[in-house]
């Protein structure tokens, strides 16, 4: 993935404030955190001289379409439901220590981030994910335990 500076280089750099941000740099940062999308910059979208940059930026964000709020993507064709991520996920263990935390069936589905359904892992309740919210951290619990790289963050 790219960084905010690279995104800024592709923006109009006119600081027109039409996006609601104070500067193009601020817009680039918002783009990075997925607060705004490339469509939120009217000059970039409408003016033909920026067409190339606009398409390039859209291209960059394409893989993250369909991702959840935390950028988690489950590749359902790869996942075979072993449940390693379900058992290793720290919020899962904290919220259901005697269920999924001990390797067993979930007892408290409403607060679990990952569960296995029909042999494929399903992400939900992303408010509980450690990558979500103000105090988010770069947690790799579900990625390192997956034998087939079926979980990805974008």
């Amino acid at each position: 993935m790219t960084n905010a500076m690279e995104l800024y280089q592709m923006l109009p750099k006119t600081n027109c404030k039409k996006c609601g941000k104070t500067s193009c740099m601020a817009f680039a940062v918002s783009l990075m955190s997925r607060e705004l999308t490339p469509e939120d910059c009217p000059p970039l979208k409408e003016e033909s001289k920026y067409r190339e940059s606009y398409e390039k930026i859209c291209e960059l964000f394409k893989p993250s379409e369909g991702a959840t709020e935390t950028g988690l993507i489950v590749h359902e064709d790869l996942c075979f439901g072993c449940g390693n991520c379900v058992v290793a996920c720290p919020p899962n263990v904290a919220n259901d220590p005697y269920g999924v935390g001990s390797g067993k069936a979930p007892t408290n589905v409403n607060r679990l981030v990952l569960t296995v359904e029909d042999g494929v892992v399903k992400a939900q309740n992303l408010g509980e994910c450690r990558r979500f919210g103000k105090n988010k951290i770069l947690c790799y619990g579900c990625i390192v335990t997956c034998p087939v790289e079926a979980i990805e963050f974008v």
């Binding site: 439901g81 449940g83 058992v87 263990v93 001990s102 979930p106 042999g119 335990t145 034998p147």
Partner: protein, 414 residues
């Protein structure tokens, strides 16, 4: 609210925490089970089939024909039973006694010797609950549970927290893979993956024993001694170690003697247990039932009340030597799984196939009886890979008869 859990009979792990949503006897959703289990449970079927010479008949005719084949045979072969319940297996043993049959199951070319050693108390073993609660060093030797028993690592051996392992896998457990290729399990083991050449297990065991005794480990394939010494150090520090022995290890050894030696040395230095990675959900059950009855785990021949045992009574050898003149195959597909040079002899004798699935064997069988999938459409009990008894009830109702009911009827007709 008390939840209604079912047992999955997709593999030797017998997961007992599966939730199922079903409507009108069709399973719509399966929770917690892996993809293998979901496919197994959703294995929906149509009408019941009783085929004689590939022509549909009624149940009574099929049973009568099957019984007459067994009655007329001098030495029928009864084979399979790895995916049958304990009750069915006991009936099959009785039937074998009554018909003077050769009785064998897949364990004769699988993990049979290992289960035999465990039943004779030659090796120390433990249950999977012990593994979850206590194990700190886990070795997957010639096994790839990530693919064969997908929930093995998450439900029992590596990731879950247990009563004495509260801090989780990163801090308190070490998983080690010894294999000929970088399997999916080996990938999870990361740096603790020891790749050895095919057939190199005996030498690796010897080198490991040398390293455990403080000598320089040597192998003909020049495995870095430093890595073996590092492995030996981890094993020495184990408070509760487990070796999960798979087919890769068993196929590579001439006999089990190196395993006995390794377990002896490991238990002098530390505390180690061994659990076989049984594939079929009730293969170990068959071994235990036959062991209780005859003292042997497989490869037996009943003759007028006497039990004979030996390699010549295995499914492979008896088919190769053409000593059997009929075959009753229950829940197995030898035409697909055995080498052609051996299995082609099945085409020369009358075969009765009792199977929930249509297989290559059932297509070439004289009589095919389509039965219920045990664990999904029929209940019973089975033995997990670690020897724990698990009983289960059917998830849905079915028109198919269970293999137990069919065997009972054949038994009466013989």
């Amino acid at each position: 609210m008390e939840k209604n859990y079912y047992v999955c009979t997709g593999c030797g792990l017998l997961c007992d925490d599966i939730e199922v949503e079903s409507e009108k006897n069709i399973i719509n959703k399966v929770y917690t089970a892996c993809r293998v289990g979901v496919a197994h449970m959703k294995n929906a079927k149509g009408e019941t089939n009783f085929l004689v010479d590939n022509k549909p008949v009624d149940e009574a005719t099929a049973v009568r024909e099957a019984a007459s084949i067994l009655k007329n045979a001098k030495n029928p072969l009864i084979f399979g039973l790895g995916t049958s319940t304990d009750e069915t297996q006991k009936l099959a043993i009785e039937l074998a006694k009554k018909t003077n049959a050769t009785l064998d199951d897949t364990s004769s070319f699988c993990l049979g010797p290992l289960v035999e050693a465990l039943l004779q108390d030659k090796l120390k073993t433990c249950t999977l609950e012990d593994v979850r609660n206590k194990a700190d060093v886990i070795i997957f030797w010639g096994a790839d549970p990530s693919d064969s028993h997908p929930r093995h690592l998450s439900k029992h051996s590596y990731f879950p927290r247990g009563s004495e392992k509260q801090k989780g896998w990163e801090e308190e457990r070490t998983a080690i893979a010894i294999d000929v290729r970088k399997s999916h399990t080996a990938k999870i083991c990361g740096n603790y993956f020891f790749q050895i050449p095919p057939g190199g297990d005996t030498e690796f065991i010897d080198a490991l024993i040398a390293a455990l005794s403080g000598k320089l480990p040597k192998t003909s394939y020049k495995y870095p001694p430093k890595k073996i010494l590092e492995l030996a150090n981890i094993l020495k520090g184990a408070k509760f170690g487990v070796i999960f022995a798979g087919l890769g290890l068993i196929y590579s050894l001439e006999d089990l003697e190196p395993v006995f030696r390794l377990m002896k040395v490991l238990n002098e230095k530390a505390n180690f247990h061994l659990v076989p990675m049984v594939g079929h959900y009730n293969m170990r059950g068959f071994n235990e039932n036959l062991f209780a009855e005859t003292g042997y785990v497989n490869r037996v021949k009943f003759e007028d009340g006497i039990v004979k045992h030996g390699p010549e009574y295995s499914v492979v050898e008896s088919l190769k030597a053409k000593t059997v003149d009929a075959a009753l195959i229950i829940g197995s597909d030898p035409l697909s799984s055995l080498p052609r040079s051996v299995s082609k002899n099945l085409l020369e004798i009358p075969v009765i196939s009792i199977d929930p699935c249509e297989t290559l064997t059932s297509k070439h069988a004289k009589i095919y009886i389509n039965t219920a999938v045990s664990g999904v459409e029929a209940g019973g009990s089975a033995t997990r890979m670690d020897g724990t008894k698990v009983s289960f009830k059917p998830v849905v109702e079915t028109v198919h008869p269970s293999d137990e009911a069919i065997l009972k009827k054949i038994m009466e007709a013989v």
